[in-house]
Symmetry: C2
Subunit: 319 residues, 2 copies
């Protein structure tokens, strides 16, 4: 896809053409030069969308909660986009099913755009693709972008952590998972939601989370630091969704008041540039070690005719 | 440690000085310029040692089996070195305990050298350090080097797979672990040992492994390809250890007859050079994204004044 045609698609998407928007997101998803072409066009267009990450274990009810939150977001008058991101299983039926369910809820609302993005298998692909996608959606005028990921792997947690507000969804009896994922999820969570709170054990789970927050944080919000609130919801009946929405709003206000939003976005931009630099260097490494000279040097190392450090230095000189 | 002193240590180690050998291995373990200095000195010294990887889940009896195999190796007249490699837990009591137990078995034998190597926390550290250590041991005249690792993580399996012959140790009832680790371990195994074969379930485990080999391999050894034999041992009583030793010998003969040993060592050398190139590029990436210009560019990306691709390109130009 040449840049001119990406430009046409972008103009159409900014004019409200949903098919053009979907095509742009597909280009980003595929990566490579196409994504790069789109990426070069979208910076500085539109007011920054506010991004909300929703993550948690499979079956925690993330999609249902997201759908309910979209309704609340729409009450602000802004348009809403939701990306269901599924890095680990490229062809997961789960993500597609989730899409359909939520599509049904908002099918008649032109102000809502929902899409799955899957990894095409290239390393770190979605960590690079997600911010590009957010930038396209910003350019297309969406005021809210939800990034929904399964919070099980490093990449998933990383993607969720790229949001302005990250919501970690747990269910009653989540104790073991809390132990297992503690480090990664405690770090990215701005709001905890105990979903399916009509089930037994919801109070204990909320208490466990508070205790964990006591242990990691020092002092709570009294010193100006944000302590993630723990909210109980039953997304299927919309019980408690207002509380979750209020907690998100509180976090946004906290970030905006203290300069934390700018700081967060600056850090995210730095991470994004670092990722692209790393990807560029990785391409150089592949080129440097894939050629005939690299094979000769490996042969020489295997024979003991040279040492691996000198071989690496020679390849690095041209990389 | 300047190179001259590394040279002195190497000369002493080649003369049979065990303390000098231990110091060289510590230098390699620490990495950095010291390791590089040693690495530049050791290529092409001594006839290549034959390396045997021993890997498997914790508690599979790897250390006891290794100790029993060392006795068999010593019958060839060659000296034997064993490195117990523990990448995941830098200060694991397990490795140290294993050391002591085996040390006791061979404490009076000057032809046996046993040592633990632990990760000092730098990424891919042991995958880089292990072949350097093997080269030092080769230079010091050891004919056999055993690399013992816990086969649970990617790095561990990678290190074990850097051997001429890789022995994967399982225990009866290992079914679940087989499922979990199948991909990585099936790929690196040249010999399977079902240890603790006096326990119930040993036959079933051996059958499971054979079935897995039926599924992954196509045809067995009839077409000149190696099919890993499955051997039953009880290392504590030395039952079956002769069979394991014979299987290792068969694999070595197979490799040497078919040119596979040279091919394997060439591939290993290529991997080693690639790892050093990657480490060099990673250092460049850190330098490129750690400076003030990188911070300015991140700020510009966050403001929407430039796009992340252009920012990355500028940093890559100097990397």
């Amino acid at each position: 896809v040449p840049e001119s045609s990406a430009g046409d698609l972008l103009a159409a998407a900014r004019g409200g053409n949903r098919a053009a928007l979907a095509r742009l997101l597909s280009i980003i998803e595929r990566g490579g030069d196409g994504a790069r072409g789109v990426g070069r066009l979208t910076h500085g267009l539109g007011a920054d969308a506010y991004t909300i990450g929703v993550t948690g274990s499979p079956g925690a009810g993330k999609s249902t909660l997201t759908s309910a939150l979209i309704r609340a977001m729409r009450c602000t008058g802004d348009r809403v986009a939701a990306l269901a991101i599924d890095p680990s299983s490229p062809f997961s039926g789960g993500a597609i099913l989730g899409d359909r369910v939520r599509m049904g809820d908002h099918a008649l609302d032109d102000g809502v755009f929902i899409r799955s993005m899957a990894s095409r298998g290239h390393l770190g692909g979605l960590a690079v693709a997600a911010p590009e996608a957010v930038r396209v959606l910003t350019a297309a005028g969406f005021g809210w972008v939800v990034l929904e990921t399964v919070g099980v792997g490093q990449v998933e947690v990383e993607v969720a952590g790229q949001s302005d507000t990250t919501v970690v969804v747990v269910t009653p009896g989540w104790g073991d998972a809390v132990q297992a994922n503690k480090a990664g999820l405690m770090e990215v969570a701005d709001v905890f939601v105990v979903n399916k709170a009509d089930r037994p054990g919801a109070d204990e789970t909320a208490r466990d989370l508070e205790r964990m927050l006591d242990m990691v944080g020092d002092g709570g919000s009294g010193d100006g630091r944000w302590r993630p609130p723990v909210v109980r919801t039953t997304a299927t009946t919309a019980d408690g969704v207002d509380d979750a929405w209020r907690a998100i709003g509180d976090h946004r206000a906290h970030l905006e008041a203290g300069g934390g939003l700018d700081e967060r976005r600056r850090r995210r931009a730095a991470d994004e540039v670092t990722r692209l630099v790393a990807a560029g260097l990785m391409a150089r490494a592949r080129a440097a070690t894939g050629g005939p000279r690299a094979a000769e040097l490996a042969e020489a190392v295997a024979r003991g005719a040279t040492d691996p450090w000198s071989a690496a230095d020679e390849l690095l000189a041209d990389a």
